[in-house]
Symmetry: C2
Subunit: 295 residues, 2 copies
């Protein structure tokens, strides 16, 4: 077994992603010699202790990061600014701070300026998840075969970036670095917009059911079922994601609405070829994802 990557790794936030990371660290042994867990919710911390997926639980965030050489923010991105403010004075010189937030420009804006000199900041985003949340939802296999996107800052220490990349490789992920703005646009289309649409259509259907007093939802066929799966995700996490990736999300939604209007026009005017080609395109994309083992 390789040397543990971190002497003391602190996870702040033990929901789906944080508790999955804790489980991988526990299973492998080569990620952290000591794993410290903090969560703002005492019930979550108690559950982490019961599950035995951390060496130590710590209700005080500043105390949790003391003397850690690795710290990962795993809370909803809206909580990052105040969390960073709390822990900044307690971060050890030479410590690497990373995160798992779904938006990267906002994290760099909110967290970057608060960090003391000597602390290395390497923002990261594992593209993994399920519709479940909380410490019981975590899975040691969650990151296997999934991408983890890093958005290092200009002037980031290459050793620190490599250490975070290695952390995710040991979780079974493929790692790629990109610009923060490119990251935010990419995830806006492949993840944030699909979630926004899924939340919206559930409401649209529910309104219709209420209006007509008909049992619309009782008959949920295959299409709608999949949408509700996505829509079952954590409300606070997604609220924060939408508010912190506002520009990219609104751009992608506008593009999608234009395309949906074009499809509506094809349906109205009976443009069979346009419709058939749209469906064929969806199929081709699906095939590409299957070949890339991301489906």
């Amino acid at each position: 077994m390789s040397e543990p990557l971190f002497r003391r790794l602190t996870l702040l936030g033990l929901g789906l992603i944080g508790s999955s990371l804790a489980r991988v660290a526990r299973e492998r042994g080569d990620i952290a010699a000591e794993l410290v867990a903090h969560d703002s919710d005492p019930a979550v911390l108690r559950r982490v202790a019961e599950l035995g997926i951390a060496d130590r639980i710590e209700a005080d965030a500043a105390r949790a990061v003391a003397d850690a050489d690795g710290v990962v923010l795993c809370a909803p991105v809206g909580a990052f600014a105040s969390l960073a403010q709390t822990i900044a004075p307690a971060l050890a010189p030479g410590a690497i701070l990373s995160d798992v937030g779904s938006t990267k420009q906002s994290v760099i804006r909110d967290v970057g300026p608060l960090l003391p000199k000597g602390v290395e900041f390497v923002p990261a985003h594992p593209l993994a998840g399920t519709e479940f949340s909380g410490p019981d939802a975590g899975l040691a296999t969650l990151f296997q075969g999934r991408w983890c996107l890093l958005t290092p800052l200009p002037g980031s220490d290459p050793d620190a970036v490599e250490k975070i990349a290695e952390l995710w490789r040991r979780c079974g992920s493929m790692v790629e670095a990109m610009e923060p703005a490119q990251h935010d646009r990419t995830v806006a289309i492949i993840s944030h917009l699909p979630h926004l649409i899924a939340f919206t259509i559930c409401g649209t259907a529910d309104d219709l059911a209420g209006e007509t007093q008909q049992h619309v939802l009782d008959f949920a066929a295959s299409g709608f079922r999949d949408f509700t799966r996505i829509a079952a995700s954590d409300p606070v996490m997604w609220r924060d994601v939408f508010l912190n990736n506002r520009e990219a999300l609104l751009e992608m939604l506008a593009r999608f609405m234009e395309d949906a209007q074009a499809m509506a026009r094809a349906v109205r005017w009976g443009d069979a070829e346009y419709i058939e080609n749209s469906v064929k395109r969806g199929r081709a994309i699906r095939r590409r994802l299957i070949e890339a083992k991301q489906a």
Copy 2:
């Protein structure tokens, strides 16, 4: 075992739904004493013979329905009018004609007027499916625990309606009757619109990838993955569904677009409460579907 429901049951179209129905009939034995299969594609018919899921294959549609006491149209709904024209003169007096089409007003419009007197027409729509198509994709378990919606006509023979209801109950489905217009609006929101959205967003993402020369799709995260699954469905079937449920689909799309614009406005103006409530609503709907065992 009960008496077979039909002496000779003919399936016209052996794709996902038709071949699933054939498999159930084959497994149970109490659905049809003899099962005849017709498909306009000779390759499909050859495959049906290889799979051994019909007693007889018949390349001529009129010959396939001769002397059958039950006939089920399982082709894409756009093919129903010409198919009905072909088989109408050959239908036996007293035969029951049904279908599995996803749109019901169009089927009643296209098929109803062509039928000879003495043939009973009972439109039906099993709410079941996968993203796969063709005779190899069929599953004997496809309809188990799923709804089948019947839209009997005014003056339909109650015995014929009951026989088709019993057919679907023997397939493991729950059966409910409703007005054709109500059916079309219900499936527009729970099935057709989700598919239209899934096809559209795949194109939106693909356009963006092409425009920016970035590997957007390589990173397909969980949300987008589920959309591509829906979008992998059969192009001809869905083209026909969209064109034959035009009014209801356009109404539901318009409702959805209004709601998506409201969500966009909440994102733009930072209305955290609106966003959080939308996500919570999606969760509640998901919970209801799980309780109703439709998730």
